[in-house]
Symmetry: C2
Subunit: 155 residues, 2 copies
DNA sequence: TTTATTGCAAATAGTTTGCAAGCGT
DNA sequence: ACGCTTGCAAACTATTTGCAATAAA
């Protein structure tokens, strides 16, 4: 676990005390995913579901901890994988070691700041998205990921 | 280090004994990259440069070892990073734990077989590649990576 | 002979997992 | 009460690095 939380993104979402109606929604979503609405999962769901964020297990863990939430890093890892299985988040294709998860599961793509280890969405209209190509015989296209690598101008 | 070498790809390239002219080319390339033409680097360069391959450190190490080449995994890792710095290979953006390197540094994109941990090039013409978009203020576009995720038909 | 490079083993980073204790229903 | 979850620590996988031995120039 690294000390620096490098994946900055949109404004930090509300802390653990979501409004009752949102809590109810989140609880329902968890149940529908076959998961018990535990305190830890409710908190993480509140930070992720319906928001536009790019997180790693570590950034999410640090954020929740800083907000006074008491949970373990292992639970964050496990919860992210469970949420992924339920389609609530999805893993972004980036080179490098850590897994980055995106809470926006609609079709969109990413700018990757190569020197800063940071990811943001590509605003709609900035990129002509190609049609899905044919996959090889016997396979179907699951989805298409585009990563536009950015860097500071060379000179 | 895992036992299974899962990244299959194009036919295995010739073993350590490349023709003299090719050896000379490889040596020149290494020098131009500021690297001494050691036996290990010559062998790895022979397996990579001018070929169309997708390798991980481990698959490359297993291949060279199986061919009777005597080198260490650490050297393969270091050499791949050096080659990457010299622009001889480049890392492919894929989710997941290992780093995959591509010896084809020209503009092309990839099919990713999600269930099989395998990558192949997308044949030219199969994908309408979009124009490079504008980067945000103060950044320039380094390159654009497209990964088309494939899976076996659902049912 | 001088300096870069290698190999080993240990260190590091990220992630997963086994199991006892605890919480949700 | 029952069984899913959690947290901890240990295990695991991938990769990097320090350093003494070695090979290239």
């Amino acid at each position: 676990m690294t000390a620096k939380a490098s994946l900055r993104d949109h404004p930090a979402p509300a802390a653990s005390g979501a409004e009752p109606s949102r809590r109810a929604c989140l609880a329902t979503i968890l149940r529908m995913a076959g998961l018990r609405a535990t305190r830890q999962r409710m908190d993480l769901a509140d930070r992720l579901v319906g928001r536009d964020r790019h997180v790693t297990a570590e950034t999410l863990y640090l954020e929740a901890s800083a907000a006074g939430e008491d949970l373990s890093l292992a639970t964050v890892y496990n919860t992210l994988r469970q949420f992924q299985g339920a389609g609530l988040v999805r893993e972004i294709a980036v080179e490098g070691l850590r897994s980055v998860f995106d809470t926006d599961t609609s079709r969109h793509h990413h700018f990757y700041f190569a020197d800063e280890d940071r990811i943001i969405d590509i605003p709609p209209g900035h990129l002509l998205v190609p049609d899905l190509p044919e996959g090889p015989e016997g396979y179907e296209v699951d989805r298409l990921d585009i990563i536009v690598r950015l860097r500071r101008p060379s000179r």
